[in-house]
Amino acid sequence: MARIIVVTSGKGGVGKTTTSAAIAMGLAKKGHKTAVIDFDVGLRNLDLIMGCERRVVYDFVNVINGEASLNQALIRDKHCDLLYILPASQTRDKDSLTQEGVGKILEDLSKDFKYIVCDSPAGIEKGAHLAMYFADDAFVVTNPEVSSVRDSDRMLGLLSSKSRRAEQNEEPIKEYLLLSRYSPDRVKLGEMLSVDDVQEILSLHLLGVIPESKSVLNASNSGTPVILDEKSDAGQAYADIVARYLGEDKPHRFIDEKKGLFGKFFGSK
């Protein structure tokens, strides 16, 4: 059985898709057959970040409606043979997703894949609900600012009450905190919440901190998940996160100000 991971946040623009792409690529690079699904029907982005937008023929909604088979819709990643992408439909809306349809696809994928990463849309409506409903693990992506933290808190509430595991009284979804766009300089200046502040509000296991980094935008624009940019701080942060998720013991980085090598990557105003 595959492990289903939802990448969620509530708030938009915090880095869900970037994270989904990086995590999925990271897991695949570690030798696990991984699928990543874009749940953002109508606002399809994952294909761009993964650099496969020119190869989209069928999509998620086609598979749900039985217009295409799963194998027809899955796109194999050009960087890694073990990674497949299921793109969202751009011409439909979130109502095209049904719980039965999503459940069926996840069940079918589970037979073949080790990890399934669900890239949740922003918000708490249908798309986000279905993205997290079947999850085993949740990566809650949060920016170090109050509205993002509150939205994440709301999402955590939904994960613990509106998911399949909650409804069927199974072991709850494992929740992990990913703090993205973190800038130690700005934390020091008091312009940003610190890791401790966020953890105090959310009381959640910290899986990793992703620094604010130019490499993320570059990676997005070029359609290569940032984790492949091994020289970049954000890429390394995601690599650490994948390793920690798989049980490796990696000390946290990018929390404090660094001088020298990585210093230049840290966000300036």
Partner: protein, 248 residues
């Protein structure tokens, strides 16, 4: 607008005011057709005549006013008396209806917020329920224990005491008919004694609440004194004023 009823006088002292809460049936009206109300009421009462005989009743006209339907309060109370009920209060009435009710010596009750509503209407700075003669035994209250964090947007209601061992996030809402204990950081809205129990108290080990309320008497975060913030405190009611004190 106190409606306290007194027992027969004792020797010394002659009287004493006490607060207590009762469970009273509420007749929620959704139409203003008095003939239909009369008819349907009689039908309902025939199902359990003994239960309704001389039962006190509060009638709720909030839904009618929402639909802009008016109702003759005098006629309505006539129907209630005829059915063997003793109207002891009006709820959700407009000014005209309330005045009419007062003329008929029927007390006015403040709006009651339903537990099932998604967003709570603005709290009234008054006890929600006041002393009324009891008609039926008080419903069994029970303590609710919560061990997981109460997240933003979540809402917990306890018919008795509420004990929470994890944090209560900003944007969460915890309500209890009895006391509330939070053995962690309290950031959300907390309402104790929601049915008017003025003896209810709130305890928490780190007060950062957005709103605290006991029996409808509330304070918002902005009104909280800095000296009791981020501290273990208890909150109780003294003469309709919320007292917040350190627990040492």
């Amino acid at each position: 607008m106190s409606t306290d009823f007194q027992k027969t006088p004792h020797a010394v002292p002659a009287l004493e005011f006490k607060s207590s809460s009762f469970s009273v049936p509420v007749l929620v009206l959704s139409g203003n057709d008095l003939t239909a109300i009369d008819h349907q009421l009689q039908k309902k009462i025939q199902l359990a005549p003994e239960f309704f005989k001389n039962s006190p009743i509060v009638f709720d006209v909030q839904d009618l006013n929402k639909q802009d339907l008016d109702i003759d309060i005098a006629e309505l109370t006539g129907i209630l008396y005829k059915a063997g009920l003793l109207p002891i209060g009006i709820r959700g009435g407009n000014e005209l209806q309330n005045n009419k009710a007062l003329e008929l010596l029927i007390p006015i009750y403040s709006q009651h917020h339903s537990v099932s509503t998604e967003s709570l209407p603005k709290e009234k700075n008054k006890p929600e329920t006041q002393k009324v003669p009891s008609a039926e035994p008080k419903t069994e209250s029970s303590t609710t224990l919560i061990t997981h964090p109460v997240r933003s947007g979540q809402r917990i209601y306890s018919t008795g005491d509420l004990i929470i061992l994890a944090q209560v996030s900003a944007g969460a809402e915890i309500l209890a008919e009895g006391n509330v204990h939070v053995y962690n950081t309290l950031r959300g809205r907390v309402l104790a004694g929601v049915l008017g129990n003025e003896e209810a108290r709130i305890f928490c080990s780190d007060l950062q609440a957005e709103l605290i309320s006991i029996a409808g008497n509330y304070k918002v975060s902005e009104d909280l004194n800095e000296s009791i913030r981020n501290k273990p405190v208890q909150v109780y009611l003294q003469e309709h004023t919320l007292i917040i004190k350190d627990i040492v």
